[in-house]
């Protein structure tokens, strides 16, 4: 239920961002990668089983594929892989505080961008010129880094709402791994 709520909220945020970014064409290249942030959060906060987090990320990715017009499965695969990476670093990193949140958001956006580029190259999906891809990746990374702490906080609130004990609630709000 928690994963479903996070996925649903993330999807709504993606729709809002898509509509909002059309009004600011001068930063059209710098769209925050909410999907990657969500996938990373699901991976970081996955409890014993990783498959629900992967499933949630893939569903979100599929929905993003539909609204963005990308080939179905592209973003889903990228977000699935991002969740796996986040799960892998779960025991080694603690995302707390503004600086780490910003840095980790940037890292996630960069990772998702690189994975996306690799997948597109692997599957023969047309890509832009390298310079254009690089500029787009830089814009997305910066935008994601800026908006990342807010997204983390929002997801922590959702986690706190689903906490069964006070301790779990406090831990969720503090950004501690479950």
């Amino acid at each position: 239920m928690r994963t479903a709520t996070i996925v649903l909220v993330a999807y709504l945020c993606c729709v809002v961002v898509a509509a909002l970014w059309r009004l600011v064409p001068w930063i059209a290249d710098a769209i925050p990668d909410l999907g990657a942030l969500t996938a990373a959060y699901l991976g970081l906060t996955a409890r014993r089983q990783v498959s629900p987090a992967i499933g949630g990320a893939i569903v979100l990715g599929y929905l993003i594929d539909l609204i963005s017009g990308a080939p179905a499965g592209l973003v889903a695969l990228v977000l699935g892989l991002t969740t796996l990476v986040a799960r892998a670093v779960q025991q080694r990193i603690l995302v707390r505080g503004a600086v780490i949140s910003v840095a980790f958001s940037a890292f996630v956006a960069l990772l998702a961008g690189i994975v996306s580029w690799l997948v597109r190259e692997l599957y023969g999906v047309p890509t832009a010129a390298f310079g254009v891809e690089l500029r787009h990746l830089a814009g997305v990374t910066i935008a994601t880094a800026i908006i990342g702490p807010l997204v983390w906080r929002m997801f922590r609130r959702i986690d706190a709402a689903y906490a069964r004990t006070h301790r779990e609630r406090d831990a969720a709000l503090e950004g501690l791994a479950p």
């Binding site: 089983q49 992967i54 893939i58 990715g61 599929y62 499965g73 592209l74 889903a76 599957y123």
Partner: protein, 310 residues
């Protein structure tokens, strides 16, 4: 967590990762959305439309009503620009009108064999009914003299009445003191050969119109009785006999038959020149010199320099 459940979890994860990879391959091979894609798009489209509507509404409200910081300054600048451009436009229109009047005068100058002098109208006193009663031109006693006729390309305007300093007043043909010898143009004759009924055009001096009248209109030059009556719309031209205006200038058209006693007719004439719109005029200074009797007998001189044709 037991090894079995861990295996199940990782197997499920592998399947889940494999699934979008397969979907992506199929999607790229197919090139079009699958039925599932279409169904999901149909379900999610209203949500996306609603969100877009709300956000665009807020954005529109912001840009139309809130984000108007520089609009006042811009509005003021645009108003000033508008005023400046209006003035420029008026000046250009006035200049264009002057140029048109001067071009008109150039045509008259070429057409009229007299010595002429162009002049600008610098004043036009009005009657209480807003009719021009006389014109003031920018030529003075060193250039023009009283009695000189004044014309435009449309026809005669009047005669110089008073000259003082650098200015001169023109008495209009509609003034009661004006007298011009005219003829009614015979439609059967060529335009430059005035013939037909002859008379004296006198201004009526009306405050509300520029009308003139011809009294004692003599019948001559027309043989058939049906042609011996002047009709409304007949053209009135100068006869050239008054030693003022050259012959053939269109004065106006007959607008009304005032009287007809069998021998003489009396008609009202509407002048061809709209005096209220006249901006430049031509003063006729002197008649053309008499023709040179030796003009055809003289031998043309040869070129002094340059190549000569073989």
């Amino acid at each position: 967590m037991t090894l079995r459940s861990r295996l199940v979890d990782w197997s499920l994860t592998a399947v889940l990762i494999l699934l979008p990879a397969l979907v992506l391959r199929a999607s790229l091979a197919r090139g079009t959305p699958s039925p599932l894609d279409k169904a999901l798009l149909r379900i999610t489209a209203p949500l996306e439309t609603g969100v877009s509507w709300v956000i665009e509404g807020i954005g529109g409200t912001w840009s139309r009503y809130v984000s108007l910081v520089d609009v006042e300054a811009e509005n003021r600048e645009l108003r000033e620009d508008n005023e400046r451009l209006r003035k420029q436009l008026a000046a250009m229109a006035r200049r264009a009108y002057d140029v048109a009047a001067l071009e008109d005068l150039a045509v008259v100058k070429k057409r009229v064999p007299f010595d002429t002098l162009g002049a600008r109208v610098i004043g036009a006193p009005l009657s209480p009914q807003f009719r021009v009663v006389r014109l003031r031109i920018d030529r003075g006693d060193r250039e023009v003299a009283a009695g000189m006729p004044v014309i435009t390309s449309q026809g005669p305007v009047g005669r110089i009445d008073k000259v003082y300093g650098d200015y001169a007043d023109v008495v209009l043909i509609s003034d009661p003191s004006s007298r011009i010898d005219v003829v009614i143009r015979d439609p059967a004759q060529p335009p430059n050969a005035p013939s037909g009924e002859r008379g004296l055009l006198v201004g009526l001096g009306r405050a509300d119109s520029y009308a003139c009248k011809i009294e004692w209109l003599e019948r001559q030059g027309r043989t058939a009785p049906s042609q011996s009556r002047v009709k409304v719309g007949d053209e009135v031209v100068t006869s050239g006999l008054g030693a003022t205006f050259p012959a053939g200038l269109v004065v106006g058209k007959v607008s009304k038959i005032i009287g007809d006693d069998g021998m003489f007719q009396s008609v009202e004439v509407n002048p061809a020149v709209d005096v209220s719109r006249v901006r430049a005029v031509m003063v006729l200074l002197a008649p053309p010199p008499p023709p040179d009797p030796d003009a055809r007998t003289k031998r043309r001189s040869e070129a002094a320099f340059g190549a000569r044709p073989l």
